[in-house]
Amino acid sequence: MSEQIQPLDAPPSAWQRFLDSHLWHSFTKDRVAQFSLLIFAAYAIMALLAPLIAPYNPYDPAQIDILNAEMPPSWEAGSDPAFWLGTDAQGRDLWSTILYGTRVSLTIGLCAVVLQALIGIVIGLLAGYRGGRIDSLLMRFADVQLSFSTMMVAIVVLAVFQATFGTELYQELAMVMLILVIGIAEWPQYARTIRASVLAEKKKEYVDAARVIGLKAPRIMFRHILPNTLSPILVISTVQVANAIIAEASLSFLGLGMPVSEPSLGSLISSGFEYIFSGSWWITVIPGAVLISLVLVMNLLGDWLRDVLNPKLYKG
C-alpha cells in the first residue's frame, strides 16, 4: 500500500501506439485485407495521378479522332499499339478514359459520403443526445427517407432537374447534382448508426462528468461523444463509398449521371452497351471489371474493419 509514484518510461508516440494496436496486428495477419488495401491504394493513385499516367486527355476533343473508333484491345486482331485497351465508339483511348472515369467515380463516391456523414452525424448526435421529442421527430424523418429507395429519389430529382433546366445546364452541374442527390438520400444510414452508439455512450459516466463541469451540449456531443462513436462511422463509411459509386454508376447507366463528354465508369459502361452486340465488347466489359473490382475491394475492407472493430469479437 505504498503511496510511492513509480516513474514510467516516456509515453509511446502515436505511431508506436498504432503499431501496437489490434487494428495493425489484425491487418498483418489478414491476407484479404492486405490485398484489398493494395488494390484500393492502386485505384486511389490511378485516380489522383490520372492526368500524369494517361497517354491521352479524353476531355480534349483535339486529341480524339473518330477514325480510331472501336479499336479492339492490344491482344485482339486489328488493334493499334497506341491504344492498349482499345478505343470507345468516339475514338477515345479506353485506358485514359477509364483512368479519368475512376477519378470521377471516386470523387463522387467520396464527396457524397462526406455529405451523408455530415448530415447523418449532426442529426444522429442530436437525436441520440437530446432524446425525447426531437429524437422521435428526426427518426421519423429518417424512416420516411428510408422508405423511398435512393434510386427512386435520385431518378425523380435528376429527371425533373434535367427537364426543367435543360440538358446543357444539367451536364455542367452533373457532378454536383449527383453528389447532392446521393449524399442527401442516404443520410439516415449514418444517423441511425450514430444515434445507436450515442445512446450507449451517453449513459457512461464521462458524459455526466462533462455535464458536471458545465460544458455545453454541442461541446459534449462533438468533443466527448463523437470521438467514441468513430468505429461504426469508419465501418459504414467504407461500405457507403462503395454504395455511392454503384449508385452513381447506375444513374449514369440510366442516362441521368455524368455526360458522355466527361464519363464516369458508369456512363462509360452505358455508352459501350449499345455496341456490345456489334462485337465491341471491351467498351463495356473492361470499365465494368474495373468498377466491380473497386467496389469489391471496398466492401472487403469494410467487412474486415467491421470484424476488427466489433467489440463482441474483440474487446479493447
Binding site: 500500500m1 503511496e3 509514484i5 516513474p7 514510467l8 509515453p11 422521435s136 457512461k204 459516466e205 464521462y206 455526466d208 462528468a209 462533462a210 455535464r211 458536471v212 463541469i213 458545465g214 460544458l215 455545453k216 466527448h224 470521438p227 467514441n228
Partner: protein
C-alpha cells in the same frame, strides 16, 4: 435555526419519479372497453429533507435501489427533481438554466462510481484535467493551466509526466485518483462522491479514502458521500443518513448512530456488519422483501418488514423527530417509546 445558517446544501421535500410507461402511445390501454391513459412511476425519492453542513462529510447509506445515487445526481443537477427544492449556500439552484448554474459548477463537483467509465477513453489524462480548468478560467494562460493541472495531479499522487497517457493505461485506483483530480481541478467547496470506492480493490479503497480525507483537510471540502459500505462510513463520515426505499429513516452523528441506532432499519443494517467481537447483539433478520418503489406502501415505507410496526405505521408517514443523541429519526415507534 443555527443549523440552517451553517448548512451549505439544503434539500427540501425532494421527490423524484421516473416514468416507466414509455411514450404516449405505450401509455394508452384498453380497460373495460374504454381507452385510458395509464402511467407508472418508480418513486426513487419520496420527500427527503437533508442538510449538508459546511466542512462535514455527510454519508448516505442504504441498500441498492433506495435512492442514494438519485439524491447525488439530483443535487448535482444531472436530474431535475419532480418536486421540492435544492439550495446551495442559501440560493435555490434546482431550477436554474445551464448558464445560470455555471457559477455553482465550479463550487460543486462530483466523483463517480465507475473509474472505468468516468474518464473519456479518447482523451489523454492531461486533456481530461485541462478541460475543466480552461472552461472555468477562460482567461488563464497555457502555463497557468498546466501548472494547475500539475498541482492537482501531484496532490492526488499521479505523476504529472503521465499526462500524455490515455486512461486505459492506468489501473482502477489510479483512474479514480485522476477522477478525483478532475473534481479538484476547479477548486470546489463541495464534492458529491457517488460510491467512489465500491468498484476498487479493498487494498486500494483505503488509499483512495485517505486521499479524499487529506483533500478535505487541505482544501476545506464538504462531502456528500454515497456508499453502502458501513465500515467506510464509520471511518469517514461526520454524520450519517440512513435511507430506505427513497425515504430518510435516520440522520445521526456517526458515533451516535454506530453506538445506539434508533430506527429499526438502522439497527438491522448495523447488526449486519461482520465483526470479530463476542457478546454483541445477534444479526437481526428482517422478514420479507423490499417492497417495490413502483407501488409504494402506505404510511411508513418500512412497516411491512418492521418488527415494531402497528396500525398507525401503515397509515401515517412518520416525520423526522429529534433524538437525545443529536440526531433525527423518522419512526412512530421511537416517538411513542414503544421500544
Amino acid at each position: 435555526m443555527n443549523a440552517q445558517a451553517k448548512s451549505l446544501v439544503q434539500i427540501r421535500d425532494l421527490y423524484k419519479r421516473f416514468s416507466i410507461s414509455g411514450d404516449f402511445l405505450d401509455q394508452l390501454k384498453f380497460r373495460g372497453g374504454k381507452l385510458v391513459r395509464e402511467q407508472q412511476h418508480v418513486h426513487a425519492i419520496n420527500g427527503v429533507n437533508l442538510d449538508v453542513q459546511r466542512g462535514e462529510a455527510l454519508c448516505v447509506v442504504g441498500e441498492s435501489g433506495c435512492g442514494k445515487s438519485t439524491i447525488a445526481r439530483t443535487v448535482m443537477g444531472l436530474l431535475k427533481p419532480s418536486a421540492g427544492s435544492i439550495s446551495y449556500g442559501g440560493e435555490r439552484i434546482d431550477h436554474l438554466s445551464d448558464r445560470q448554474i455555471l457559477p455553482y459548477r465550479r463550487k460543486m463537483q462530483m466523483i463517480f462510481q465507475n473509474p472505468y467509465a468516468s474518464l473519456n477513453p479518447r482523451m489523454t489524462i492531461a486533456q481530461t484535467l485541462e478541460e475543466p480548468v480552461r472552461f472555468h478560467n477562460p482567461k488563464a494562460s497555457a502555463t497557468e493551466v498546466r501548472d494547475k493541472v500539475h498541482e492537482v495531479m501531484q496532490s492526488v499522487g499521479i505523476d504529472p509526466s503521465w499526462g500524455k497517457r490515455f486512461s486505459h493505461e492506468f489501473s482502477g485506483g489510479q483512474r479514480q485518483r485522476i477522477s478525483i483530480a478532475r473534481a479538484l481541478a476547479v477548486d470546489p467547496e463541495f464534492i458529491v462522491a457517488d460510491e467512489p470506492i465500491s468498484a476498487l480493490d479493498v487494498s486500494i479503497q483505503a488509499q483512495v479514502l485517505n486521499l479524499m480525507m487529506d483533500a478535505q483537510e487541505s482544501r476545506n471540502l464538504t462531502y456528500l458521500f454515497i456508499t453502502h459500505d458501513l465500515s467506510v462510513v464509520e471511518h469517514f463520515g461526520t454524520r450519517v443518513a440512513v435511507m430506505y426505499l427513497g425515504s430518510l429513516c435516520e440522520l445521526a452523528p456517526t458515533k451516535a448512530l454506530f453506538a445506539t441506532p434508533r430506527h429499526p432499519y438502522s439497527q438491522a443494517l448495523l447488526s449486519a456488519i461482520p465483526r470479530l467481537e463476542d457478546g454483541r447483539p445477534a444479526h437481526i433478520r428482517l422478514q420479507g422483501e423490499v417492497s417495490t418503489p413502483v407501488n409504494l406502501p402506505s404510511g411508513c415505507v418500512f412497516h411491512g418488514r418492521c418488527p415494531h410496526a402497528n396500525e398507525r405505521c401503515s397509515r401515517e408517514i412518520p416525520t423526522l423527530i429529534a433524538t437525545s443523541e443529536g440526531g433525527q429519526v423518522a419512526c412512530h415507534a421511537v416517538q411513542e417509546g414503544r421500544f
